[in-house]
């Protein structure tokens, strides 16, 4: 099968993820969309690895997975503590960073 098709799929997944991050307000959904974007990248990397015939892309994909796992830990912790203090998981409620 033509590996370029995987790239199309990756691009599609990335776009869905990005749109989700920009549009949705629920922190959990935003978070899952971020994961979706990361996995789209992973798919692209693996496809590239196949296309170029070396292992670089696969190695980067592992890195991404590790980083994503770490990110899930931190991110979910933040969301949970945010929900505890505000009883809401909406990202728009957390706008205290501005002056």
């Amino acid at each position: 099968m033509n590996p370029v098709n995987y790239l199309y799929l990756a691009a599609l997944l990335f776009t869905i993820g990005a749109a989700g991050v920009l549009i949705r307000r629920n922190a959990i959904v935003v978070f899952m969309c971020v994961e979706l974007m990361l996995n789209a990248c992973n798919l692209a990397f693996v496809a590239f690895s196949r296309m170029h015939g070396n292992l670089d892309g696969q190695i980067i994909a592992f890195f991404t997975m590790v980083v994503a796992a770490a990110e899930v830990v931190v991110g979910l912790a933040i969301i949970v503590s945010l929900f505890r203090s505000r009883h809401s998981a909406s990202v728009d409620d957390a706008s205290l960073m501005k002056l």
């Binding site: 920009l22 549009i23 307000r25 990202v91 706008s95 960073m97 501005k98 002056l99």
Partner: protein, 646 residues
């Protein structure tokens, strides 16, 4: 013998240091230490004088090099002394009169709690003045020049708690500083022209430089002389300087410091000889001041200010004589010395009168004092006769010679100057007779002592009961003895100097000398002088001697009123310089605050405003940050692709 010159300066300097840093311990003996060191300096001067007389006429200049003061590439300022006949004359005058006035001050300042400091300042003055006259280069002369300015500042403002005294002191210093600009620039010009500013090389090479340069240097030296010697247009400080204690007026503002300008011009004779234009300027300044001072002297009711006007006028004579070139230098110095005697004597007499009259200075409130203060009357009277040039007394010899020299300067200039000097002699006779009559003759016009809280002019230390009538009495011995000695000088010095042209011959190696040849014969000039003099005395007698004198001054003519205000000099200064200066500084303070600082603050404010606006983009919504990130990335990618495509 040469090595004694430094001691001459060092003795009073030591006194000043000891008295000013010594603290209260020296309060009881301070005045005697000061007097003793002044006397020591005088004795040293006499010893050096004796030694100088022992040398050949050609080899009388003594030199002493101590060390190099300012050693910089191409610029050598030495601490080195030169004692020639001219300097010697000054040394003897300064230390001699200085010692007498120290002695006088012991009595005069007896009740002042700060007497020790007063003597410290007097010694400081002596040291600076001696430095001025024995310096062998202009930079060291400048040192002494400013040193006497400082001493004068400290002594005029000695009674600092009186605002008028503090203001007068400041004014004297600042006006003198204007003159000092002249001396600074003259030294710089010498440096760029000759590469040095020592007397020997500069005065020896005046012929090599262009006349323009010499004129410039001459005019700058004249500016300096105007400041120090209170000549028009920098004369305004001298009248106010009478705020100082009377011995100070006698020593500094009559006999010695104010004559420093004459010294400077005579010393720089070679420069002025090479610059006829500068000489003309000197003569004009002298002539104008001689009349200016005389007119001011006529109108003043304050005895010290009348004498100050007279000083100004007499120094005008000297400056005029010095401006005449070799025919005048020696006479300028001779008049300077005789003036030192009689004017110091007159001031000490005035101090004695004030001492007996509760420090009243208004002559209209004196009168009839000759019976109460006989010694003061006689010594003052002799000084009076000397200053008006009564035949046979000191002033006659020295002033007459200047009038002759003025006539002899040739052409129209000669006639104008001759007339001015003659006229000046007449006015001198008039105002001095006025002083004499108002003070010692006529009826008593004494007034009760003013309340010291209200009248700021009362000198402190002397207990005055408000409302008490004065009890004039003769002053103590320590005050009368100096007056008697100075009266001797006033009577005999002129005659002594003139026998066989002694004084002129003595100075001739330094100042050169040409005999004046006036267009009219000398006896005629002398006769004219005597006639003018008698006329002045007669007018004064008619005006003040025949009837009662009002205690409150009449309004007087326009000229009298102007003269009372120093011919409006102060008003001019006030309007133009003080007001103008105030406006200038005030507007500059404003400019500094609003414009110079404003530009900076404005920049800061606009940066702040811009950042305030940019801050609004940060709304705190994570999603909008994400959008901007996304947009930024998209633009970057698009740009990269476009660049590729191109």
């Amino acid at each position: 013998m040469e090595n004694l010159i430094a001691l001459l300066v060092a003795a009073p300097l030591l006194g000043a240091a000891a008295l000013l840093c010594g603290g209260r311990r020296l309060d009881r003996v301070g005045h005697w230490i000061g007097t003793a060191l002044a006397a020591a300096s005088f004795v040293l001067g006499l010893v050096l004088f004796g030694a100088m007389l022992g040398y050949d006429v050609e080899a009388r200049t003594m030199r002493q090099h101590l060390y190099t003061w300012v050693p910089v590439e191409g610029f050598q300022g030495d601490i080195a002394f030169q004692l020639d006949q001219l300097s010697m004359t000054f040394v003897l005058l300064i230390t001699g009169v200085g010692t007498l006035i120290h002695l006088y001050s012991v009595g005069y300042m007896e009740h002042d709690e700060r007497r020790r400091r007063f003597f410290g300042y007097l010694n400081l003055f002596l040291a600076a003045m001696l430095l001025l006259v024995v310096a062998d280069n202009y930079l060291l002369l400048y040192f002494g020049w400013e040193g006497v300015g400082l001493a004068s500042y400290l002594l005029i403002g000695f009674w600092q708690h009186k605002p008028s005294a503090a203001t007068a002191a400041k004014k004297a210093f600042i006006v003198n500083r204007v003159g000092d600009i002249g001396l600074s620039i003259a030294i710089m010009l010498m440096f760029t022209t000759f590469g040095t500013f020592a007397f020997g090389p500069v005065l020896g090479a005046t012929g090599d430089a262009t006349e323009g340069k010499m004129t410039a240097i001459g005019l700058m030296l004249l500016l300096a002389a105007c400041g120090k010697s209170a000549q028009v247009p920098l004369q305004s400080w001298l009248g106010d300087a009478m705020e100082g204690p009377t011995p100070v007026s006698a020593l500094i503002h009559a006999a010695t410091m104010v004559t420093a300008g004459v010294y400077l011009i005579t010393r720089s004779g070679a420069i002025f000889n090479a610059a006829p234009d500068a000489q003309t300027a000197v003569v004009v300044v002298g002539a104008v001041t001689l009349l200016f001072g005389a007119i001011v002297g006529c109108a003043k009711d304050d005895i010290k200010k009348a004498l100050a006007g007279s000083t100004m006028s007499q120094i005008g004579y000297m400056i005029l004589a010095a401006g005449l070139g070799p025919i005048g230098y020696a006479f300028a110095i001779m008049h300077l010395v005789t003036h030192g005697f009689f004017k110091a004597g007159l001031f000490l007499g005035a101090g004695s009168v004030m001492h007996g009259m509760n420090d009243e200075v208004d002559m209209r409130k004196y009168g009839g004092l000759r019976k109460y203060m006989p010694v003061t009357f006689v010594t003052f009277g002799l000084g009076y006769l000397a200053i008006i040039g009564f035949p046979g007394l000191s002033g006659f010899f020295s002033k007459d010679k200047i009038i002759e020299a003025a006539f002899a300067s040739g052409g129209t200039q000669g006639w104008i100057l001759g007339t001015v000097t003659l006229l000046g002699a007449g006015i001198t006779a008039y105002y001095m007779t006025r002083v004499m009559i108002l003070t010692f003759f006529g009826e008593k016009r004494w007034q009760p002592a003013p309340d010291p809280d209200k009248a700021a002019s009362v000198e402190p230390g002397i207990e005055v009961t408000p409302g008490a009538m004065p009890h004039p009495h003769e002053s103590p011995k320590s005050m009368t003895i100096p007056m008697i000695v100075l009266a001797f000088g006033s009577v005999f010095a002129g005659g002594f100097f003139s026998i066989g042209d002694r004084f002129v011959n003595w100075l001739e190696p330094v100042t050169q000398f040409e005999h004046p040849h006036p267009p009219i014969s000398v006896p005629v000039i002398t006769g004219m002088t005597v006639v003018v003099l008698l006329a002045g005395v007669a007018i004064a007698y008619l005006q003040y001697g025949r009837g009662p004198v009002p205690v409150v001054a009449p309004r007087g003519s326009l000229l009298t009123r102007a003269a009372r205000r120093d011919l409006l000099q102060d008003d001019f200064n006030h309007v133009v310089l003080v007001r103008g200066g105030e406006h200038l500084t005030r507007s500059l303070v404003y400019v500094d605050h609003t414009l110079v600082d404003g530009v900076v603050n404005g920049t800061a404010a606009s940066v702040g405003g811009l950042s305030g606006r940019l801050r609004k983009l940060q709304n705190g919504y994570a999603r909008s940050y994400a959008v901007s990130m996304f947009g930024g990335t998209a633009i970057l990618i698009a740009a990269t692709l476009l660049m590729r495509a191109v």
